[in-house]
């Protein structure tokens, strides 16, 4: 199977016609049904029918996470509650949760999108899809679940946690595709080793890994330790959940399913649109969603768009893998630092573990960044001199890459907490 839905290879001209038609319908519907959007659109002088071509999108207002919170819980829904068949929500750790609602058709479209991602990762109806994303209000678990069923594959609803049991069932049931966060995939690989489960005892062939930023270096490690092809999947509940985009076999960016979402890249400070290739904040407009459709939703994720043709045949634009979020960006003594940048440096030093944590503190009015790295047997030496050399090397390489000096702290193996979902990379102790 090369792709799941023929729309994935639709020629650009027809794809854009479809986008325009759907965008027009969406904006006019929101104008009519959602007071929040009527007000915002009135403010920019919009009248129904004003969308004439795709570039008119740029005249529309942005939507932010705060807008969703201000209308908590259901204020932005575009259909009556009786048409909503499912609710998902974010954890709300940074404020009120953002709540999203789906109609029956939204659920079907979403499952179709996820089925496309599984096929892009090499999946077929013969696969056993091991879903180790959390089930519940988080979209990861149920999203992959319904996608696997839509494809006709076998869904294994593991949810997160209980890693030894995950591995036992992986062996016994012959799971072929693993779906979880990349950091949990590494955690699984570690526990496999402890349990004496080798690569040839499992049948995994691919991983559909997402929900947190990760690097190519980490991909190599996951692919080697689990013996799989690792594919980055992207999505966010506000837009639909997993299935907004996926890496195909080329692994050269993630195809954004443009028949459902229009992606843009903007300068996060000015809101100005940026051309393909330039890095900035990723913005999505829903054009094929009924329950909650958002116009120009600012994701806070940093990416860039690649419009060059992909050898896989899919015509949909690719986004570069997320390098960080505008809100998990640390500002250390005035320098922007993303955890993924530190990860990229660490993973280039042979023998270092991909488990790391950044601790930021303010000492005498100065920001101090400590990089905590676990000491593996490969890099451990009985000579303090050599350990200090290792610390220095890490500090030097991080400094030359990021432009900020850091303190490196060597840690015992497994002393950095393992995640069963999104890894906690940053502890910010600065009181601001």
């Amino acid at each position: 199977m090369e792709y799941f839905n023929p729309v994935e290879v639709l020629d650009r001209e027809r794809l854009e016609e479809l986008q325009l038609q759907r965008l027009r319908e969406t904006v006019d519907r929101l104008y009519e049904k959602v007071p929040f959007y009527r007000k915002k659109l009135d403010e920019v002088g919009y009248s129904p029918g004003d969308i004439r071509n795709l570039s008119d999108l740029k005249k529309l207002p942005f939507t932010t996470k705060d807008d969703l919170r201000d209308h908590y819980p259901f204020g932005l829904f575009a259909v009556p509650m009786r048409d909503i068949v499912r609710i998902h929500a974010s954890s709300g750790t940074t404020g009120k949760p953002t709540v999203v609602g789906y109609t029956a058709n939204d659920i079907k479209v979403w499952a179709d999108l996820v089925a496309r991602t599984i096929v892009a990762a090499g999946g077929t109806p013969d696969d056993i899809v091991h879903v180790a994303y959390g089930y519940g209000l988080f979209t990861g678990g149920l999203g992959l679940h319904y996608g696997a069923e839509m494809l006709g594959a076998t869904a294994l609803p593991m949810s997160g946690g209980n890693t030894k049991r995950q591995i036992r069932l992986m062996v016994d049931f012959g799971s072929t595709i693993l779906c979880c966060t990349p950091s949990y995939a590494l955690n699984i690989a570690e526990v496999m080793k402890e349990m004496g489960v080798t690569r040839d005892m499992i049948k995994l062939k691919a991983g559909i890994l997402g929900a947190e930023p990760w690097t190519d270096e980490m991909r190599v490690q996951i692919e080697e330790t689990l013996g799989i092809s690792a594919h980055d999947i992207y999505g966010l509940s506000e837009v639909v959940g997993p299935g907004v985009s996926i890496e195909c076999g080329e692994k050269n960016g993630l195809h954004v399913f443009e028949d459902c979402f229009i992606p843009e890249i903007i300068d996060p400070d000015t809101g100005e649109s940026l051309p393909p290739g330039e890095r900035g904040e990723l913005v999505f407009t829903n054009i094929n969603k009924e329950g909650l459709a958002l116009l120009r939703y600012r994701t806070r994720d940093i990416s860039a768009l690649d419009v060059s043709p992909c050898p896989c045949g899919r015509t949909h634009v690719r986004m570069r893998r997320i390098t960080g979020r505008t809100d998990d960006m640390l500002i250390i003594r005035g320098v922007n630092v993303f955890p993924s940048q530190v990860e990229a440096v660490l993973m280039q030093i042979p023998g270092l573990s991909p488990h790391y944590q950044l601790v930021v503190d303010r000492v005498e009015n100065l920001d101090v960044l400590e990089v905590q790295v676990e000491v593996s047997p490969e890099v451990f030496s009985d000579e303090i001199k050599k350990l200090e050399e290792l610390e220095r090397r890490i500090a030097d390489e991080v400094q030359s890459y990021l432009g900020v000096s850091v303190k490196v702290r060597l840690m015992e193996p497994r002393s950095i907490q393992r995640s069963e979902g999104k890894a906690v990379r940053v502890i910010d102790r600065r009181k601001m």
Partner: protein
């Protein structure tokens, strides 16, 4: 002639040394000599034990970072000048010492110096050439 030393990485937090020793105790591994080198954040515990294989196995199972290093153990007379005497041939042979630690034999007549050096074979040759007893592995484990 070469003795296997077991080294363990320890973060500086209370209870870690106890954890190692408890783990060895439960495995009935007997410690012959030990030394700790430390920095502000971590330490390296260096151990000579009666059964290095077992020590490495049980510590690795408990998720400690462990490595093995070859060191040499030399018997020196337990009197003033004993250590200086054994250092002389190493100095003359241009052997660089990474670290050393000493312990006294039960009989009390001689002390044993454990050396970690860069050029282990040259060190053994120099020491033997000056009449020192470089201890055999099995004798050290049996002390």
């Amino acid at each position: 002639m070469k003795v296997r030393q077991v080294s363990v990485f320890l973060e500086n937090k209370s209870g870690r040394l106890y954890e190692v020793c408890k783990c060895l105790a439960e495995a009935e591994v007997n410690i012959r000599a030990l030394a700790i080198a430390e920095t502000a954040d971590y330490g390296v515990l260096r151990l000579i034990v009666n059964d290095p294989d077992r020590a490495v196995r049980v510590l690795t199972e408990e998720n400690f970072t462990v490595s093995e290093t070859e060191v040499i153990a030399v018997e020196v007379p337990d009197r003033p000048g004993g250590l200086a005497g054994v250092l002389a041939p190493l100095y003359e042979a241009n052997v660089n010492i990474e670290y050393l630690y000493c312990f006294v034999e039960k009989s009390g007549e001689s002390a044993i110096v454990v050396f970690r050096v860069e050029q282990i074979d040259r060190a053994i040759q120099a020491l033997q050439g000056s009449g020192f007893t470089v201890m055999r592995e099995e004798d050290v484990y049996r002390i």
